[in-house]
Amino acid sequence: MTDLTLTLIQLGFLAVLWLFVLSAVSVIRSDIFGAKVDTPRAPKQPRQKAPKQKAPKGGRKPKRGMPSTLVVIDGPNAGQMVPVTGADILLGRGTDAAIRLDDDYVSTRHARFSTNGQQWYVEDLGSTNGTYLGNQRVTSPVPVDLGVAVRLGKTVVELRK
């Protein structure tokens, strides 16, 4: 066994060792770049309540001046958003809400955002702590414009383009 062979064996061994370490790292690269979220969520569709299906699903592309997302800007779920399609958006702590708010001051079915095609409205669904536009408690469907903060419990949401 010549020295050269032994050196090659040694280098080869170190290379395989590092190859192993790097492949282990590549398996867990999702830790760094984030895991894939299952966006289509096709299997979960059947769980949506029937009444909500009646809303027009076709208007995928929002019209000019119409909001495209509903964003939570404050509260435990700050940063979460749902795309606005034209269907009603239910907010609350329940499992059928569009954003499941993790907020103790929010009721199970707290408030609903809905549209008639031109204007969005927010409507309180008899929540315990109320829904507020500014200092005004929402008692009946109230028009909401882009960028107007709506407060539910400790959570604040707004419509954005």
Binding site: I9, Q10, V16, L17, A24, I28, M81, T95
Partner: protein, 461 residues
Amino acid sequence: MSTSSAPNSVVYRKRRGAEAVLVALALLIVIAAFCAVGLGARDRIPGFVFGLSVCLVVIAVATHLVVRFVAPYADPVLVPLVVTLNGLGVAMIYRIDLAELDRSGADANQFAGRQVLWTALGLALFVAVLLIVRDHRKLQRFTYTFGLIAFVLLILPLLPVIGTEIHGARIWVRIGPFSLQPGEFAKICLAIFFAGYLVVKRDALALAGRRFMGIDFPRGRDLGPILVAWLVSLGVLVFQRDLGSSLLFFGLFVVMLYIATERPGWLVVGTTLFLGGATFAAMTFGHVQVRIDAWLHPFPVTDGTYQLVQGLYGMAWGGLLGRGLGQGSPEITPFGYSDFIFASIGEELGLAGAMAVILMYALIVERGLRTALLCRDAFGKLLAAGLAVSIALQVFVVVGGVTRVIPLTGLTTPFLSYGGSSILANWAIIALLLRISDQSRRPPPESAPLQMDDATQVVKL
């Protein structure tokens, strides 16, 4: 329903295929290591390699199948990493066995065979823990039982008949032909005990007391638990003369306390107590004094510093790429197969190999902490973090001691060192981590939507 950015909506893939590929690569490394040792030291591939490979493949396939069926969502990189470290350790021990044969002939101590046996037992324990502990939350019920077991395990070596003193440390229990280090198992029991205890008590312990330099310090009356842990660690240091375990237990408690309460003040209190204890120990006890002297002044070489200096020379001789497996002389360092196995690896695989080993430990710890982040219940979070921290602390204490970063303490390098208790305990730790990660990566059970409006939801904990 489109909670597109809720953290729990991530569906983890099982990645068992990736695990299988990594385990295959790990086996390749282990077999290659044995061949390289044989070629380097004896100019031929050892005759048992074929048989060993068959055994290894059978064991690996069995382990993989067990994980696939018992913990399908468990972390995919933990097992391959541990298999590599364990196999590399056995190959290194075999290499030192060969050198001992050359030096002292037929009556030399042979450890590799026994280490293989211990590894097989370790794997059996790994499978047993995975099968018995189906849900880690059940362990929380036995919080104080585990605390008691840990206490008994710590006391065992001090008992007159079975307790044995080997190389100055009274941490061994000898039953017939077997000698065990109960401290290694106490580590797991303590992690479970601390996790269960802190989950219940953390609200009280998180109460802020005085604020000083931007850090909230705990209240004086809450110092009881940390003082008890400190006293027990000092007891280990005084009565068992084991610096490493003492440091490990106290460090584990302080870090878990910090994780549970999120109060950096505890780290300050813990460090202060540790420094106080260390100063006291250094001034009072001879064995601590010797270690600190050896650390600060290894040259000129004396009896107390010979081992440390030989380890340093070995690593220096290894350089960047190492001497090559089988071509260094790690047998010169006393205990090159157990306490100083990191120096042996540094000698034969060089800085490149030693760094790969450290990186593997870092990945294990990272996976443990990641599991803690993902875990849904507080007990599992604390337990996973505690187990990961115990491995991290142990590696730091050993490798830091060997490389003269901190005073040398006698702890085993997890999975690498020769030692049955250490192998068994660490495989059990990995089994627990896999179980917790299986629970936390598993998709949550589909819950039926609530029908009643505004009804108070019953949350099942």
